[in-house]
């Protein structure tokens, strides 16, 4: 198990270094290292590279890490909550709910410090609606959860289009549109810090709740019999998942499938230890977003593809693969 974690860490480090060094301007790993940890050592003739790392690539890589962590841990939580591996922030409508509120906020020039909080509130509202529809007297129904999520996402998509179309100012409307298309280009420290704080809080809360996640995995009836306050734990998991999704949506717009793919791989690697699964979900999510972002900005020369496009091209088929592997007809 330790070996697998070390291997994952190594892959994550490679992903970060590659991300910092690759681009229109190639930068040597040693220069990148010094630019991050010892900027004084950078000679004056490399001030340009220093500038690129400090102002563009480092914040962007960190945002990719935050988004990857937040989405995959949120997906892990939603999967644990619904006890089904097909749940993630995108499919359950949490991302769309957050997206609507953020679109309205951006259209009205709300200051960026408020965006993660607003995204959180939007996600919370969406999750309360979807969760309320999914809940039956016998507990959470996954079919209802996913159907309600798809329905709500459609409604949110419509509202976002309305906001964009009726926004008046075409420049701002286009801004909202590109932002919601999912991507992290042009994001800097100002957007990173609040999202990182929310993600860190969510990550710590997830570790604190890890034993309760195991307790819930034996079924709600059995868990309640073992003294677990099932309703409270379910709401806590949903709350943390929404906090993390909100943090991700606030910086990257709506990015799908990271929350689906990363926890799935993590569960396969660390089948019986929830803490390792959470840690691995975060690392795999980081790696996925770092590599996708790298491809997004290098694949087509002189042009940047939206991050969500690449993730959809990878994540969509993966989702279909999961559906084909479901044992029974019911989800």
């Amino acid at each position: 198990m330790i070996l697998r974690i070390i291997l994952l860490l190594a892959i994550a480090i490679v992903a970060v270094v590659t991300n910092l060094c690759t681009g229109d301007v190639s930068i040597a790993p040693s220069t990148a290292f010094n630019a991050v940890f010892a900027p004084d050592k950078i000679p004056a003739d490399q001030a340009f590279q220093l500038e690129i790392i400090q102002q563009i690539r480092l914040p962007r890589a960190l945002i990719a890490m935050v988004v990857g962590t937040a989405l995959s841990v949120a997906g892990y939580l939603l999967q644990s909550l619904s006890r089904n591996h097909l749940a993630d922030p995108y499919l359950t409508g949490v991302s769309s709910g957050a997206g609507v509120v953020v679109a309205v906020a951006v259209a009205n020039s709300v200051s960026f410090e408020w965006v993660p909080l607003l995204a959180f509130l939007g996600g919370l509202l969406a999750s309360v609606i979807v969760g309320g529809l999914a809940r039956t007297s016998r507990g959470f129904s996954v079919t209802r959860l996913l159907l309600a999520g798809v329905g709500l996402s459609t409604i949110c998509g419509g509202i976002i289009t309305l906001v964009v179309t009726l926004g008046g100012d075409p420049v701002r409307s286009q801004g909202i549109f590109f932002w919601l298309a999912g991507g992290i280009s042009g994001r800097t420290w100002g957007e990173l810090i609040p999202a990182a704080i929310y993600t860190l809080i969510g990550l710590v809360a997830t570790f604190v709740l890890s034993k309760q996640i195991r307790m819930l995995s034996v079924g709600t009836e059995q868990a309640r019999g073992l003294g677990v306050n099932v309703d409270l734990v379910q709401w806590a998991l949903l709350f943390v998942a929404v906090l993390l999704s909100g943090a991700a949506v606030s910086v990257s717009g709506i990015v799908g499938f990271v929350g689906l793919v990363a926890p799935h791989i993590a569960r396969n690697l660390f089948g019986r230890d929830e803490r390792a699964q959470i840690f691995a979900s975060a690392l795999i999510g980081m790696v996925l977003v770092l590599f996708s972002d790298l491809l997004a900005r290098t694949l087509v020369e002189g042009q940047e593809l939206p991050l969500s496009t690449l993730l959809s091209l990878v994540g969509g088929p993966f989702f279909l693969f999961l559906v084909s592997r479901q044992k029974s007809e019911s989800v």
Partner: protein, 288 residues
């Protein structure tokens, strides 16, 4: 002398009659306010085996769920040593009362040992993964008692239905409870394991644990029960307790015929020094 005492006596001043008991008082219970059972008065006492029996759909599982703090009653209450069960914290209840549900709904890859260890949850802090020596001892003792030695490292979901049931009973034992409630514990067990479960129950009873079972098989009930409550379903109305009391007064051919809608003959059983219940369909019996 306590007759004039106000109703607010604290738990420590409870009259002895409410001690060492898990009691249902005037229960009305069901789902979404539709009552399935009404007027249920029932007590589970330590060192006794109480059996809840009745035909399909009469609400046995509903009653055991309310007693197990899984389901809130519509009216009435469940009291543990005189304290209301549905207003106490889950861990407090789970330290005293263990519940083995009828169906299993696992979504993990835990081993038998890890599943049984979950029984220690009410004795641990909710966020902590650390295991005390007492936790480890109780887990191993429970595994041994349920006859699961050698299966500790096997994934729970790879076990047979009967082995899974025994692992859940081991989890209940790891809770070190004063009462164990089991919903159809022998349903998936083969004959050998049915009998070994009966002797395990007898052993638990010796250790002054109170046991409530939902059981179907009359001969099994006859072997193990001290007290029996028979639930009678009624058309268009919630079920009620038809008869409750000591085994010998309750297991009469008349009671069985009324509650289960069958005819029953009782034969002496020379091999076990007991008796054997043989049931037949009522209409067929009437015809012959």
């Amino acid at each position: 002398m306590q007759i004039d005492a106000p109703n607010t006596v604290s738990a420590t001043m409870q009259s002895p009659s409410s001690k060492n008991k898990l009691e249902a008082i005037g229960l009305k219970a069901g789902y979404d306010l539709n009552a399935v059972v009404v007027n249920i008065n029932l007590s589970v006492q330590r060192s006794k085996v109480t059996v809840l029996a009745g035909p399909n759909g009469c609400g046995k599982s509903t009653v055991i769920k309310v007693l197990a703090r899984q389901l809130k009653p519509i009216e009435g209450s469940v009291q543990l040593d005189g304290a209301d069960v549905h207003s106490m914290p889950g861990e407090t209840f789970a330290k005293k009362v263990a519940y083995v549900p009828q169906s299993i709904d696992f979504s993990n890859e835990l081993t038998v040992e890890e599943v049984v260890r979950l029984g220690r949850n009410p004795h641990q802090k909710w966020w902590s993964w650390t295991e005390s020596e007492a936790d480890a001892e109780a887990t191993h003792a429970a595994i041994a008692k349920a006859g699961l030695n050698g299966l500790e490292k096997r994934p729970f979901t790879n076990l047979s239905g009967g082995e899974q049931k025994r692992a859940l009973i081991a989890t209940a034992l790891a809770q070190e409870p004063a009462f164990i409630l089991m919903d159809e514990p022998i349903a998936h067990l083969d004959f050998k394991h049915q009998l070994s479960l009966l002797s395990l129950i007898a052993e638990l009873k010796e250790k002054s644990i109170g046991i409530l079972l939902v059981l179907h098989d009359l001969n099994m009930i006859d072997r193990i029960a001290d007290e029996i409550a028979l639930l009678l379903p009624q058309s268009d109305k919630p079920s009620e307790v038809y008869a409750i009391g000591q085994k010998d007064e309750i297991l009469s051919p008349e009671n069985i015929a009324t509650v289960f809608d069958v005819s029953v003959s009782i034969f002496p059983d020379s091999s076990s020094q007991g008796r054997h219940f043989s049931i037949e369909e009522k209409t067929k019996a009437n015809r012959t």
